[in-house]
Each structure stands twice: as structure tokens, then as C-alpha cells.
Symmetry: C2
Subunit: 327 residues, 2 copies
């Protein structure tokens, strides 16, 4: 039997989907979550498996984290503050949760002698890039959001630990992810608005922002594909992979698909301006050739991802009742 | 009279040289230092000026730092753990001193409503780059040292604060700096060795590493040149400038110049390997066209910088007596 895999943020949107997939593949999984935004409901299926163990703990509880990792073969570090938009209201939150939190994961791995890591980073680290589709080795950009800065910072420390301590690290830079258990972001916000008032939909920005979105199943498949890379390396390993689709959609298109799926025809009211908030990147399209060269390919279109998300939200209206928890 | 300029790390090597230059230019200067590696001797001349005030404080004392900044027109943030080589022995030190410390500088600036910042970053952030001379917008590199990672991380948060809070930031990526008050690094180490035993000089690596060095006077002139940039900008500003010379020298050449200046002919013993330590970059040469376009140009050659440093160390042997303080 292979050594267990520890997943931080296991009760989150991506984390719980990953846990389910790992269990379906026969893996032994340790979930680690402080339930600050994670939801016990998302792990209901996993909890039925003999091969799943859950540790309620915080990244800042270094001894608990180290103990949870001990004997594990790999760590998939997803726990993070994923609220890109409200960073400026809490200027230290991204730094603390995402950068300092990752330092603790690295220190726990060193203490527990776990060498294999997959880290969930973000396309937001490309900041003000002018290169599209954006490859992993794009010209060094200027950071525009605290969220992007916090993930970029974590990436750098991971690479330095790989070099200095022989860690084998795979960094995944995600676009926004869609699908079952999605509980924040624009599809969630739009659906919540339309539940309250089906006649009007307020949209940040001018609706022309072009973004790329990836279905969570494709995201999870990408994580599992990169986990295999470099696993034989003795000398340390650090590679970075973009995860996204080769298409983009405009916010206005996504709004249209959401309304169609819900069977609604609200008035669309745009806030104006070329970006949704300060630090938002109005165009995101990642070059995913590097990951595709490993045989990975996204199976869902953005349109399918949006529709599946809306359908899941319709079938799980309880998620809206705790909306405050996700922001 | 212009508003005071606050210099963090004012009692350090570069900081004290900068303070002296600012005072000579007629500026009012607030020095901020915790004297963990700074030296009171370096500020002896500055202390005689009516336009200089010294605050003994730590970057982590946010209220003291905020109070010291209050009424200042600009902050030049030099305070840092500058010990690149021993990062792996203290894995959290670079993160804490350089990244978390910079977050506190940013928070203090926000609280004190100071908008203008110059930040001392490093060419080490180019990590494993293959682009030489390395421009500011080189392809995104992989970090190789905790020091480089910690400075890269700080740069990202500075850029995000500029975007989000209207900060006007200038990031300077230095090569290694040489000159009066130089108190760590290879010239210091070589001179210290030769004071103890003038017959043998142990050199890390194979001596073939090629590095660029800049005289501290040229570094200070570069800092003052970039401080003028963007000062009229209302909407936030963040530009990055490499500071270095257009030449490199090999460690073996530098060792030769040091021995010549000291009038010694020791046996040179090389440790071997292509780099001095894990995470060391065996080739550093920065493209400085961007800063040169502002009219700045280095005046000293590397050879002059090395010789001046050796002469200063010879004239100030007391600096070796407290060697432990600098590492």
C-alpha cells in the first residue's frame, strides 16, 4: 500500500473534490482543515471511507500539522485564503494565510521528512502581464493583488526549500475553478443575487473582462498528473505548471449562460470600468502546453463548467444560507 | 524644507553611507535601526548633524515604526537579514526579517500616510535565470535561495500595495555592494582569514564564479536617482531598477586583487564545485540600462571597489573583532 497523501484545505471546494478522487483511486488520504471556510458537508462521502482520516487543525499549529504529516508520502497544499477580491480590506490576511501558512507547511514537511509537495498557486501571480496566453516563464510581471503577491511569495519559498532541502515540488497555477461545491466567486454571487431578486443582476466592471475557467474535475486531474512528475528525483525538484483551458469567456457571456441555465431574463446592470475591483486582471488566459505535454487535457468547456456549477448550486441551496462564511 | 526621509537599517553598511549622503545633500533624516547587525560607529558622523535623528527600534514594533515615520516624506527600506549564505541554517529568518519585516514597513506607511518608498531588493531574486545580462523583466525564474525568495516575496507585496493603496514604490535590485563599512561577504571573509594566517586563503567553490559588484557610493547615487521617479504620480507607481556594473569578475580575480592590495601572496585553496554554497548563483550580471537611462552611471570599476574595501578594512581593523555580529 502506498503511503498516505495529506491534503490541506481538504474540506474546501477543490480539496474535497480532490479527496473524493484520491479515495476513488484507492489512495489513503489524511484531510487537514481548520474549517474556517471548509464545510463538513463536503467531506460527508469521504468520511464513509476506511481510507480517509480527518484532522481538524490550523496551518499555524505546527506540531499538529507535523504530526498529521508523519508517515505521509506527499502533501497537496490547497489551504488558503481564496478571496481575491476583498484583499485590500484585510491587508495582512493573504500574507498570513497564504505565505506564512505555506512556510509552516514547508517546516512541517521538513520536520516530518515528507519530500513530495503539490502547491495550489494561481494565474493571478501573472499580475500585469502583457503576454497571452501566458506561459510559466513569462517576463517577470508586477503583482497587482495581495492574493497574487501572497501566492507568488509562497512559490518562491517552495523553490528555495526544493533547492536547499531536496524537496520535490510541483506548483500549479490555476485559473478560477468551477463545479460542484463551488462556494465563492462570480457564478456564486450571480446565482445568490438572482435568488434574492430574479429581475436584476448587478455585474462588477463593464462585463468585457475575459477570463479563463476550469472545471474542478479537470483541475483535480491536473493535480494528479503533476504529482507523478519528478518523484524519482533525489536532488530536489521544482516545476511549475499552468492549469487552465485554452478558451476564455467574457463576464457578460457567463452571465448570459447563468441566466439561461436558471431560465431567467433579468436586466443586467453593469458597474462600469474595465475591471471588477482594484487589482483585478481583466484578461486571464494561461498557456497550458507544459501540462498538456504530460497527457493532461481539460474535458469540459467553460460553458459546460458554468452550467454544471449553476445546476449544483440549484440542487444545493443550503450553500447560500451560510454565504457569510465564504467571504 | 522638505519632509524628512526615514531610512530603515540606517546603521548598516549601505544605510549609513546613504544617511551620510542624504545629510550632505541637505536632507532631514530619521534613522531607524534595531542594531542587530547595525553599528553605532557607522552613524558617528551623522549623529553630529542637527538634521539627523536616530530611533532605536525593531521593524516588528509597528507602533514605534509608525510613529517614527509620521510626517516623513519618504521611506528608504534597507533593513534586512543580508546573510545570503547561511539561510538554510535558519530557514525562517529570511522570511521573518525580510518578508514579514517589509509587511510591517508597508503597514506603518499606510498608517502614517507616507506614500514614497525605495526598497532594497537583490539580484538574487533572478535565481536560476539563464538570461545575461539579466533585465528587470527577465523570464520568471525559479528561486534558489531563501534570501532571494524573501526579497522577491517582499517585492510582490510592495507592488500590490502600490496598486491597492496608491503607494509610489521604487524597487532596487542590487548586486553585491562593496566599500567603506563593508562588514560581511567575500572580501571581508578573505581579509579576516589573511589577518589570522597570511599564508593560506580558503576559497569556497572553484573560484570561477562570475559576479558583479557595485561600489557603495554608486549604489547610494542609484537610490537617490530612483527616489525622484514617479514622485508626481497620483495613482500609485511601482518600478523596478537593477543596480550593478556592466562588468563581472571571477572570485579568483577578486582574491588576487585583495592579496595585491594587502601585499600578500598566500596559497589559494579552493573548496571546489561550481558554486560557493547551496543556492548560490555562480553567474550574476544585471542589465542596468533602465537605471542608466535616468542618467545614473557607476563611477568605480569592480577592481577599484575591491581595493577601496580592502583599504577601508585595513584602516578599521576593529570591524573584525566583532565578526560574530555580522554573521
Amino acid at each position: 500500500m502506498k503511503a498516505p497523501i495529506l491534503v490541506t484545505g481538504a474540506a474546501g471546494f477543490i480539496g474535497s473534490n480532490l479527496v473524493d478522487r484520491l479515495l476513488a483511486n484507492g489512495a489513503v488520504v489524511v484531510g487537514y482543515d481548520n474549517f474556517s471556510t471548509g464545510r463538513a458537508e463536503f467531506l460527508a462521502a469521504a468520511e464513509k471511507s476506511q481510507r480517509f482520516g480527518l484532522v481538524r487543525g490550523d496551518l499555524f499549529d505546527l506540531s499538529k500539522l507535523t504530526a498529521a504529516m508523519s508517515g505521509c508520502g506527499a502533501v497537496i497544499h490547497l489551504a488558503a485564503n481564496a478571496d481575491v477580491r476583498h484583499g485590500l480590506e484585510h491587508p495582512l490576511r493573504d500574507f498570513e494565510q497564504n505565505t506564512a501558512g505555506t512556510m509552516n507547511v514547508l517546516e512541517a514537511m521538513r520536520a516530518a521528512a515528507v519530500r513530495d509537495l503539490v502547491f495550489a498557486s494561481t494565474g493571478s501571480i501573472y499580475g500585469d502581464t502583457a503576454t497571452f496566453p501566458t506561459p510559466e516563464d513569462a517576463p517577470m510581471p508586477r503583482q497587482t493583488s495581495l492574493y497574487g503577491a501572497s501566492k507568488m511569495a509562497a512559490e518562491g519559498f517552495i523553490a528555495a526549500y526544493a533547492e536547499g532541502f531536496g524537496l520535490r515540488a510541483r506548483i500549479c497555477r490555476f485559473v478560477s475553478i468551477l463545479g460542484p461545491r463551488y462556494s465563492h466567486g462570480h457564478v456564486f454571487d450571480f446565482c445568490r443575487q438572482l435568488r434574492a431578486n430574479s429581475k436584476v443582476l448587478h455585474i462588477l466592471g463593464d462585463g468585457r473582462a475575459q477570463k479563463s475557467y476550469l472545471a474542478v474535475e479537470d483541475c483535480v486531474a491536473g493535480i494528479l498528473a503533476v504529482l507523478q512528475q519528478g518523484s524519482e528525483s533525489e536532488a530536489g525538484f521544482c516545476e511549475t505548471y499552468n492549469l487552465g483551458t485554452e478558451e476564455t469567456c467574457r463576464v457578460s457571456e457567463s452571465a448570459q449562460w447563468i441566466c439561461e441555465t436558471l431560465g431567467l431574463a433579468p436586466t443586467l446592470e453593469y458597474g462600469g470600468g474595465d475591471r471588477g475591483w482594484v487589482g483585478d486582471n481583466p484578461f486571464i488566459l494561461l498557456d497550458t502546453k507544459k501540462l498538456q505535454a504530460l497527457g493532461w487535457k481539460p474535458r469540459s468547456t467553460i460553458r459546460e463548467g458554468v452550467a454544471n456549477t449553476v445546476e449544483w448550486l440549484q440542487a444545493n441551496p443550503w450553500i447560500f444560507d451560510e454565504g457569510a462564511k465564504t467571504q
